[in-house]
Symmetry: C2
Subunit: 161 residues, 2 copies
DNA sequence: TCTCAATTTGATAATCGGTCTCATTTTTAG
DNA sequence: CTAAAAATGAGACCGATTATCAAATTGAGA
């Protein structure tokens, strides 16, 4: 049993919940897929691997992962929640390329310290924060003309009239 | 005519759009209400003041304000977009109290500089960013037991089972 | 000022991510 | 093994926002 399975089981038993094959299966795939996955993406991935677990269960289970401290939910501005394993993963923030939807993780202790300083000045107690830098990644700014090297998002229709 | 009305008109004419009484009325109320307003809140405020403008037009017009550079859209994690006038307003980020939904604005050039530094390190070009610190404000941490002094958000049902 | 094509509006239908409901199945303490 | 509690899948439902469309308004040019 992986450490992650243990963490999940601990949370499950301490909350009088139940260990199910669905939860184990979802945890497995969740750990093996790319970071910042959406519920829908995870659902499709599981289907590809032969699973018949329903989408509602995917949502429920991702929420459970978050409640157990295994994962965290993120929003990168495309209207879908994304999830990433955070157990044993250093805290970090994100650079989000709006061209190709690539997500680059970074860690900056100076910024974290300054956030705390700001909070102190306002007598505010931080328990979470969100720092995202939106723009264009290196790859995308090099290929000035081409459009979407690693597209992941649906392009939303824009009424320009 | 206020400077804001001029900016809007400039955007409107340069895009072959039309100046309407609705747009002027919405801009007026938008400028006179509190910052970080939702479309729904602005709609109700206008109704209170006797307007009969439809909600769809409020949404359309707030989007227009954003397109013209007068306003910006924000998301503070409660699932509704909020808007604030940013013309002639210094860039700032936000402390969001999850107890009372108070929003405190702050400005920190050191953090902004460090963000740019991070971006440079990753050869990334930032064109916008989002920094929000979530937690408990001074007022709320003082009244340890009381719940919602200036409640603004609907409490979402949480299935704890 | 009049005309009229283009734009905007209000009402409301549609969309979309996500949650809830409920009948059925699975888990697990005893 | 039993039975109560919890979880599941299917699909109904929800809330914020956008799209549709007929009717009204706007404004550039005559
Ligand atoms: Mn990450
Ligand atoms: Mn603000
Ligand atoms: Zn990119
Ligand atoms: Zn507060």
């Amino acid at each position: 049993m992986t450490k992650e399975e243990e963490i999940l089981q601990a949370h499950i038993t301490s909350h009088r919940l139940k260990v199910t094959k669905e939860r184990k299966a979802i945890l497995n795939v969740f750990m093996s897929t790319e970071r910042h996955v959406t519920a829908e993406e995870l659902y499709r991935e599981m289907k590809n691997r032969g699973s018949s677990i329903g989408l509602a269960t995917i949502y429920r289970t991702l929420n459970l992962f978050c409640a157990s401290g295994l994962a965290e939910q993120r929003h990168f501005g495309d209207g879908q929640a994304r999830y990433e394993l955070t157990y044993n993963v250093h805290h970090h923030d994100h650079l989000v390329c709006k061209q190709c939807n690539r997500i680059i993780e970074f860690e900056n202790l100076e910024i974290e310290r300054l956030q705390e300083k700001v909070a102190r000045k306002h007598h505010f107690t931080i328990y979470s924060h969100k720092l995202e830098l939106y723009g264009t990644c290196e790859a995308c700014s090099k290929e000035k003309s081409k459009s979407k090297p690693k597209s992941k998002a649906k392009s939303k229709k824009q009424t320009t009239k």
